[in-house]
């Protein structure tokens, strides 16, 4: 388990760096008359990722000398708050941006331990509504079309 703590993150960073190097090598080359004495667009990202790989070696050495502390598993509230982002994406994509925001607020209030229903409902309704009115009426920003915005704009 300790070796996993030492090597996992450096390994993931190394994989990321190698993937970026491979992607960079596939970038188009610019004609010499445009680039001149400068460098090709692929050169800079490759340089960065090589530098990253060097730092990964140092990170492994550092981790070996002083292994990272074990990370406590986050509580239910954290993982479910992250999962709510998926809900937010799906509801925004298929229903409405503001309904999605209200849904996340509702879920988050409950997950984070608010048990007074009137407070949950008030936060769920008043927050998106007031922000919507501020941005729509004062800042004149148009929001993406959806169930609620279609009704509002029509």
């Amino acid at each position: 388990m300790q070796s996993l703590r030492i090597y996992l993150i450096p390994f993931l960073i190394a994989v990321f760096s190698v993937v970026i190097i491979i992607l960079s090598l596939q970038l188009d080359e610019s004609p010499p008359m445009i680039v001149g004495d400068s460098m090709q667009p692929r050169a800079f990202p490759i340089f960065l990722m090589v530098l990253n790989l060097v730092l990964v070696i140092f990170l492994v050495l550092q981790n070996q000398r002083k292994p990272p502390e074990p990370i406590k598993l986050e509580p239910f509230a954290t993982w479910s708050s992250i999962a709510l982002m998926l809900v937010f994406y799906l509801v925004t994509r298929y229903v409405d941006f503001f309904i999605a925001i209200a849904a996340v607020i509702f879920g988050m209030c409950l997950i984070w331990g608010e048990r007074r229903w009137w407070v949950v409902l008030l936060t769920t309704l008043v927050t998106p509504a007031s922000i919507f009115l501020l941005f729509d009426q004062v800042l004149r920003i148009r929001f993406p079309r959806g169930l609620f915005t279609n009704w509002w704009y029509s």
Partner: protein, 490 residues
């Protein structure tokens, strides 16, 4: 010079600006006392709201939030042993023990006075140092700028959170993020994966909102069930003559330390307050009192962290290199409003620049008044349940991300960077280096390209330029910074 003074004076005579600074100071103090929010998150959340304002008003709002929230972090640090901002962490060491002894009012009084002196001192230094540095910066050409940005990135190694190697990895990740989109000189598309909304590159605003606001939301979800010990307070007390005798030297020393640390690229109020605190302890005749309620400890930490705010604005405004996480957001604010940070800002926009400085000065006076007369009311705000506060932060974050260019892609970018930032922090990586890397990334690449063109491909000629060589030496020293800082803190 006359134009600069009149621009600063205008702030004190313009009722609209005074009203704006007053309201923003209140907002900044509220943001500062809410544990977890802090100056950086607050500035990230408010940035989209400033888009429709005049440039000077927008930057005034962000700068005022910066100074007010940095001060306000001390209120919760003293009363509930939870720093409202990371910059107030050192204030808890002696502030909370003093409050537990029944002297919360005295602790807050010392924090308010020290913060005000630190803040005013740093704005004065900002007014003097910024134009002088701008004069030097006029001589900068691409090699100097390239070396300077490398110096800025190397300083990431010494940011307190994370650790040198992890911070540098974060910084490089940030610089890589800046390469997404069409390459500036050849228009060749990089890492866009067919998404043409990324042609101009990643927008700074959603990335900042994700890294600072949404990642903090996930971090705060861990503290849902934590119970805070709160010390009651009747009124804030101004320091007595004896108190002043004890702390004046500490305040002056910390003002110098804080301003200097703030000026260093990528260093901020957190590092400044830690060093201010440890230096206060080192020079004190009553070392044993530290940790048990020493007023010098509070004064040392508070004057240093507020002095860092003005200091951090120097490289931000003059060189376009952020001095801290919050100034990274102010820098984005400047860019969004078409004010290109750099030495020419001091010739082309003198009025705007000095109005911003004047606003920072006025904000310091305002939080002095608010701290002395309303701290106990502000402290009550910290009792807002996280289950109400953070869902509202979520709503403000996603709408803020959307509003910049009315793009849902920006919302997804903010959400993705919120999750990335959370996991990065979970594994000990600070998010500020990613933000600084993203801002400096384009500057590094363009100036390297232009330097190569200048020297016809002979990159080593960069080292023959005296100023560039100086910055590269400083960059090397910057990489050794963590060791020097750890020695100093010890």
């Amino acid at each position: 010079m006359t134009e600069a003074i009149s621009a600063m004076a205008l702030v004190f005579l313009d009722p609209y600006l005074i009203g704006l600074i007053f309201l923003t100071t209140i907002l900044g103090v509220v943001i500062g006392v809410l544990p977890g929010l802090g100056a950086t998150t607050g500035a990230a959340l408010l940035l989209p709201f400033t888009l429709t304002m005049e440039p000077v008003h927008a930057i005034t709002v962000l700068a005022t939030i910066y100074v007010a929230a940095t001060f306000a972090g001390s209120i919760t640090a003293i009363l509930i042993n939870t720093p409202g901002t990371s910059a107030a962490a050192a204030t808890t060491f002696d502030g909370f023990p003093l409050a537990q002894r029944g002297e919360a009012g005295r602790a807050l009084g010392i924090a308010v006075v020290s913060s005000t002196v630190g803040g005013i001192f740093s704005v004065i230094i900002l007014c003097i140092a910024a134009p002088l540095l701008a004069r030097v910066a006029y001589q900068f050409r691409p090699p100097e700028y390239f070396a300077l940005t490398l110096f800025g990135l190397s300083m990431l190694a010494s940011i307190s959170a994370g650790g040198a190697i992890k911070n540098l990895i974060g910084g490089i990740f940030g610089v890589w993020l800046a390469t997404i989109g069409a390459e500036k000189s050849t228009s060749i598309e990089r890492f866009m994966f067919g998404n043409y909304e990324l042609y101009e590159g990643l927008s700074f605003v959603p990335v900042m909102i994700g890294l600072f606001a949404l990642s903090e939301l996930f971090v705060q979800s861990k503290t849902v069930n934590s119970v805070m010990n709160r010390v009651a307070i009747k009124a804030v007390k101004l320091p007595t003559k004896e108190d002043y005798k004890k702390i004046w030297a500490t305040i002056l020393r910390s003002c110098g330390i804080g301003t200097f640390i703030g000026i260093l690229p990528a260093e901020g109020a957190t590092v400044a307050s830690m060093i201010g605190y440890s230096e206060a302890r080192r020079w004190s005749k009553n070392k044993d009192e530290f940790g048990k309620g020493a007023i010098e400890g509070i004064a040392g930490a508070e004057s240093a962290n507020n002095a860092a705010t003005g200091g951090a604005m120097v490289p931000t405004m003059v060189l376009g290199i952020p001095g801290s996480g919050t100034t990274a957001i102010i820098l984005v604010g400047l860019m969004v409003h078409g004010l290109r940070p750099g030495p020419y800002l001091f010739t082309e926009q003198v009025g705007t620049v000095y109005q911003i400085f004047g606003a920072m000065l006025l904000a310091n006076f305002m939080f002095l008044g608010m701290g002395l007369y309303a701290a106990k009311y502000f402290a009550r705000i910290s009792l807002v349940p996280p289950a109400i506060l953070w869902p509202i932060v979520f709503a403000l974050s996603v709408i803020g991300a959307y509003s910049l260019s009315s793009s849902l892609l920006d919302v997804w970018i903010a959400v993705i960077f919120g999750i990335v930032g959370f996991f990065a922090r979970r594994h000990g990586f600070a998010v500020a280096p990613i933000a600084v890397g993203l801002i400096l990334g384009e500057m590094v690449e363009i100036n390297l390209q232009n330097s190569l063109k200048m020297f016809e491909g002979d990159w080593w000629l960069i080292f023959t330029q005296p100023l560039a060589a100086l910055f590269l030496v400083l960059a090397f020293l910057g990489l050794c910074g963590p060791f020097i800082f750890s020695k100093l803190v010890k």
